[in-house]
């Protein structure tokens, strides 16, 4: 092992294994996770060449091979619990993009949620067994977040009892669905239902797209891959165009809405339940942000302990770059953020399951808040993580730019999280809608509960209306609880400002909607402040549950750093709201520097505790043993461009250049 890393690990103030248990939830979960990881990582069927050296077509092929193997192995090892499939298989082996993934994550769940018993009987077994490979086609080339704008039509023909599917315009071509381009033979297609001359809005249809046996596109179907992307090379995101393509009436998913053989439309009773899947996916993405950021931090911090550069004191040997204050300032707040998001991810997962049980018993009361929280936190964590991964990459200097660092891949595969499953700005505005509703509710005299309960305490709600600015506060910058209070005041203030500006615009504009658009910058700010408060609150509450003293001490430092860093970044809000004074802000900056020094000796152990195996990190710079340079050289030698000493282009272009000029 590299001497620097060995010394770092020996000098740590706590046992990283204990912290790993905290992150996984329990020692038992850690054990089970490692068991499944090893099962896969040690399996020769999953070995493959470094993806970085393959073409896109080869990468796709490797992914399909692994997907096919994965299905066989899951049967073999009897891994059936969806939890374990979702949280372990897909997640902990990231860099593992599955062309058949949507069959399991979207096609089957949609069939289960929206299909009748008969429909489930017909399609479930064969899709579980991958005789049918399904995907989910919603987004169109010209339409994304705004669902009602989708143009694909499904017109019912009572004569033949069929739906006729059409993509009437270029913009209506289905675009982006994963696995649609080359892999899938069926798709659940969202289309505007038209029957008896009337449009009834979006409904889901099971559409065969490729012939079983030959895998050729069926007549009336135009299907293909949408071309190269920033990342996700292994995924055949596809397009789908349908021309008078007919499917039987039974292919419309009819658990809720129905079309009778004669074309009569029967309305669904309620459709609130479809929120469930969205909330689940968004909660999951919060955890995904935490994992991706944790990986990036692991790579950048280990490498910063191995890399030496320049001098701090004249004449001394080159120090580890982790000893530079600027490097610590770049990385440690991100490390603290990674821990914060880990705990938020765990909280979202628990909350989802708790509320899901309530929903099962018919109690929908907590769903709106969870829905708003999942939307906002998905946006908040993915925006932060997006920037943070890139910061980690740049903290690795030139080598961070090479694919050997693994960081470009983490970045390009994570960044679509800001866009998919609800574009982030739109998500923030959904959270804002909930905040405004809650604000109005309090204003009309009703108390609100949950994470927004701070709105009950707004001074304007009290008998003597007064500016928020004169709230008396004494913030103790060494107490996570007190800092949580400060964040709460900031959120309350920004929610109130947004609400008032909105009211003001409503008075001056012709419609509420125009007013909403003209306040949307304020609304997004309010949502961000709310989410920031939630993260800080969850992190400081987590501290109370940590038993081990040394682990508690180091997590407390991280929590403080997370809180103080946020304050220093958003100091304007805290100053303008008189939540903190100028001299307190100066103290915050001073204390932050002390924390950087305090965290420095534990930095490597803190990333070790994330417990990523080298294969999962996919990084030469982030190797556990720290033998970076030897392996970097070996890695480069494997580049296909080095296969011959003289490249073909020499004879083609360079040699003639020398004679022609």
């Amino acid at each position: 092992m590299n001497q620097d890393l060995r010394r770092e690990r020996e000098a740590a103030s706590f046992n990283p294994e204990l912290l790993t248990h905290v992150l996984d939830g329990s020692p038992e979960s850690t054990r089970r996770r490692r068991e499944i990881e090893n099962l896969i990582l040690n399996d020769p069927d999953f070995q493959h060449e470094d993806l970085n050296f393959l073409t896109r077509s080869q990468r796709y092929e490797v992914a399909v091979r692994k997907s096919a193997n994965m299905v066989k192995k899951m049967r073999e090892f009897d891994i059936a619990d969806p939890e374990e499939i979702m949280w372990f298989k897909k997640v902990h082996l990231v860099n593992f993009v599955e062309p058949v993934g949507l069959n399991f994550s979207m096609f089957i769940p949609t069939l289960l949620n929206q299909g009748t018993t008969a429909q489930q009987e017909k399609w479930l077994l064969s899709s579980k067994g991958l005789q049918i490979i399904g995907t989910y086609a919603q987004t169109e080339m010209g339409h994304g977040t705004h669902l009602r704008g989708l143009e694909t039509t499904a017109t019912y023909d009572p004569e033949t009892q069929e739906f006729i599917l059409n993509s009437p315009t270029v913009t209506s071509i289905k675009w982006w669905p994963g696995g649609l381009g080359k892999t899938s033979n069926h798709a659940i297609v969202l289309a505007q239902l038209i029957t008896k001359g009337k449009c009834y809005g979006l409904h889901a249809f099971i559409v065969p797209i490729r012939e079983l046996g030959t895998h050729k596109p069926l007549p009336g179907i135009t299907v293909g891959d949408i071309g190269p992307k920033f990342g996700y090379d292994e995924m055949d995101n596809g397009y789908l165009k349908m021309d008078n393509y007919r499917i039987p009436r039974e292919n419309m998913l009819m658990k809720y809405a129905q079309v009778k053989p004669d074309g009569t439309y029967v309305k669904p009773v309620s459709n609130k339940l479809t929120y469930g899947t969205m909330v689940f996916v968004r909660s999951f993405l919060v955890g995904e942000a935490a994992r991706c950021l944790s990986k990036a931090c692991t790579i950048a911090i280990r490498y910063s302990a191995v890399r030496h550069q320049s001098e701090i004191k004249l004449g001394e040997p080159e120090p580890q770059i982790l000893d530079f204050q600027t490097q610590q300032y770049k990385l440690f707040p991100l490390l603290a953020t990674a821990y914060a998001f880990q705990f938020v991810g765990a909280y979202m997962k628990e909350t989802y399951h708790r509320i899901n049980e309530d929903i099962g018993q018919g109690d929908l009361s907590e769903l709106p808040e969870l829905h708003a929280l999942a939307a906002g936190l998905k946006a908040f964590t993915s925006w932060t993580t997006n920037a943070a991964i890139e910061a980690c990459r740049m903290a690795c200097g030139g080598h961070g730019y090479s694919h050997c660092s693994g960081l470009p891949n983490i970045y390009v595969n994570f960044t679509p999280t800001c866009t998919f499953e609800g574009e982030n700005t739109v998500m923030m505005l959904q959270t804002a809608r909930f905040l405004m509703k809650s604000y109005d509710q309090v204003h009309s005299g009703k108390l609100v509960c949950g994470m927004v309960s701070y709105l009950n305490d707004l001074p304007t709600q009290r008998i003597q209306p007064q500016q928020v600015a004169v709230w008396p506060t004494v913030v103790d910058i060494d107490s996570p609880d007190s800092l949580t209070e400060a964040y709460k005041l900031r959120a309350a203030r920004l929610v109130e400002i947004a609400a008032k500006n909105l009211q003001n615009e409503v008075i001056h504009r012709e419609s509420k909607e125009v007013a909403w658009n003209l306040t949307s910058v304020d609304l997004v700010r309010a949502s961000e402040a709310h989410c920031h408060y939630v993260v800080v609150k969850l992190f400081s509450e987590k501290l109370l549950k940590i038993q081990d003293k040394s682990v508690h001490a180091v997590l407390r430092n991280l929590c403080l750093l997370y809180c103080l860093y946020g304050i220093s970044q958003k100091a304007g809000d805290f100053l303008q709201g008189s939540i903190m004074t100028e001299s307190q802000i100066t103290q915050v900056n001073q204390r932050m520097k002390e924390l950087l020094t305090a965290i420095r000796p534990d930095a490597v152990a803190l990333v070790d505790a994330f417990d990523f195996q080298d294969v999962t990190l996919g990084s030469v710079l982030g190797r556990y043993d720290g033998n970076v340079y030897e392996n970097l050289f070996e890695w480069a030698k494997k580049s296909p461009l080095n296969k011959s000493e003289v490249h073909e282009s020499y004879c083609k272009y360079l040699k003639p250049l020398q004679s022609k000029l």
Binding site: Y60, S310, T419
Partner: protein, 665 residues
Amino acid sequence: MEVPRTLNSGGKSNEHYVAAVRKTFHLQIIAKRLGWSENSPEFYYAYRAVSGELAFNLHRVFQKSLRSLGSEEQIAKWNPLCNEFQIIASYAQTELGHGTYLQGLETEATYDTATQEFVVHSPTLTATKWWPGDISLSGQWGLSYPPCKNWKAPAREPADKWASYTRDHVAPLLSPTSVGRSATHTLVQAQLICSGARRGMHAFIVPIRSLEDHSPLPGVTVGDIGPKMGFDSIDNGFLRLDHVRVPRENMLSRFAQVLPDGTYFKLGSPQTNYFSMVVMRVDLLLGEIIPLLQKACVIAVRYSVIRRQSRIRPSDPEAKILDYQTQQQKLLPHLATAYAFHFLGSNLSEFLHSSYDAILNKDFSHLPELHALSAGIKAMVSDLCLQGTELCRRACGGHGYSNLSGLPSLVTKVTASCTYEGDNTVLYLQTARFLVKNYQQAHPTPGSTLQRSLPQSVAYLATTDLARCPAQKAADFLHPKLYTTAWAHVATRLVKDSVNHLETLMQSGADWDEAWNQTTILHLHAAKAHCYYISVKSFTETLQKLENEPEVQQVIKHLCDLYALHGILTSAADFLHDGFLSGAQVDAVRTAYLDLLRLIRKDAILLTDAFDFTDHCLNSALGCYDGNVYERLFHWAQESPTNTQGNPAYEKYLRPLLQSQRSKL
């Protein structure tokens, strides 16, 4: 509609590389035929037209280095060979284990008196030259070419009148190239050892490949460093030298010489090295980095008036996404930044040019200021261009993730610029050192020497300013003098603060190096504010020069206002901290800012058209001039190799899987 080849090559860097070599080859032939000289406007235009996807840029850098560091005889010998492409040159400075810190480089060149040769050697693994081509260190060579004189673009149609303001300067475009597979010779930066002493870094011309069959020469191990985030067309390389011998004449000897008997002597000032770095950075700003943000803005703004999403009012059709306030807030400040940086780069280039002759005549008085300015500005520009380009990409939603948008490749290029030619943090801190020094000079401690006048860019550090901003209402913030003063105030306060902390630590016993490392976060902060101040000031100065073009001046003023106010809101805490702005004033700034978004929204398309990029140059299905976004997207996707070639994965893996199941069912 021709499908751009680079987009659809399926991510194979090999194809990118071959395409780049091919294009360079043709460009050289055309240039030769039409008689374009190096650094001519024609060359710059040609580069701009092909979007920089070229090989051999370092070949020219090699030549420039040769001409500034080489003796007359050396220039006479090597320059014609380069011109005729008889040799293909590159150079190698950065090592596997060493980057920014030059003295840390390990490669050695030991003089052997017996044979009058240098023995060039990589003693350790970490000494392996890595990234050569990385322009990062090209600046060490004292490049001695002058930036081209100002010249105006050819007359344009009236609608394009802004274009001429954005096209004032010429900069040769430089990109990392080409040790990996192309180069036959490399300029190697190595520790010179002669007469038993180490003499520091010097440059040596080392032949690395046979001129007959291009195979590596004995003792040379050379190759490509593997796939990167971007720059697929460039074969960044590694180079290991095992006691490779080169004649004594191969050490570039304008400023230092080794005599046949091993005697070493110096002929020049080390300060000239600074100058070459300055020139390189200024060239990079205008020739490489800023156009990337400009292109991203063109693509995102055009797409935002084509794309419609949701409704603002239930009764309306779906709205153009640029009509959403949140979308305006994402894009328009970056459009303003793209203009701000263009003028900043141009003004810096002008300053450089006006100091150029003096420096050649060994008057180095402007050099420290030029160095500090170019370092900080390069850091700020690349930082903010990265932020802006990435934001433009994400503002295009899902399609921004597709390579067909042209945006991912802009992001991967601009992000590299934060590291090469000096890591941004290191550069900011170089500027900070200059600020600290000048602040201390302007405010001498009692008893120390008298102050002399400060260089122009930091003169504001010595002036006393207002303690409070006099603005009363939102409209007051639309005055260039007011917000320039505000930025000067904040920059001064932060510099003062960082100096105070530094001095306090030193008074309590810390030595200078330790005190510096303990206060670097503050220095970073101060340097950033200083650079922003400089950019605001430069923008307002450009504005004044536009007096004869009132229409253009008006629209540029909106951008200038937006740029300055966006900066204030982003750093609101710095303005609130000492009460320079009150909370109510910050609210007024926000009001003025939101109004500006609405005003600029109207001119947004023309403001991006004025950059005058051709569709070919943008290479984007989303950003094309005619706005036929969706047709183009569909067409380009259909031509993707994934669609035109078969699907072997189906036959190999999917079919067996499907069939194994069917037999069971």
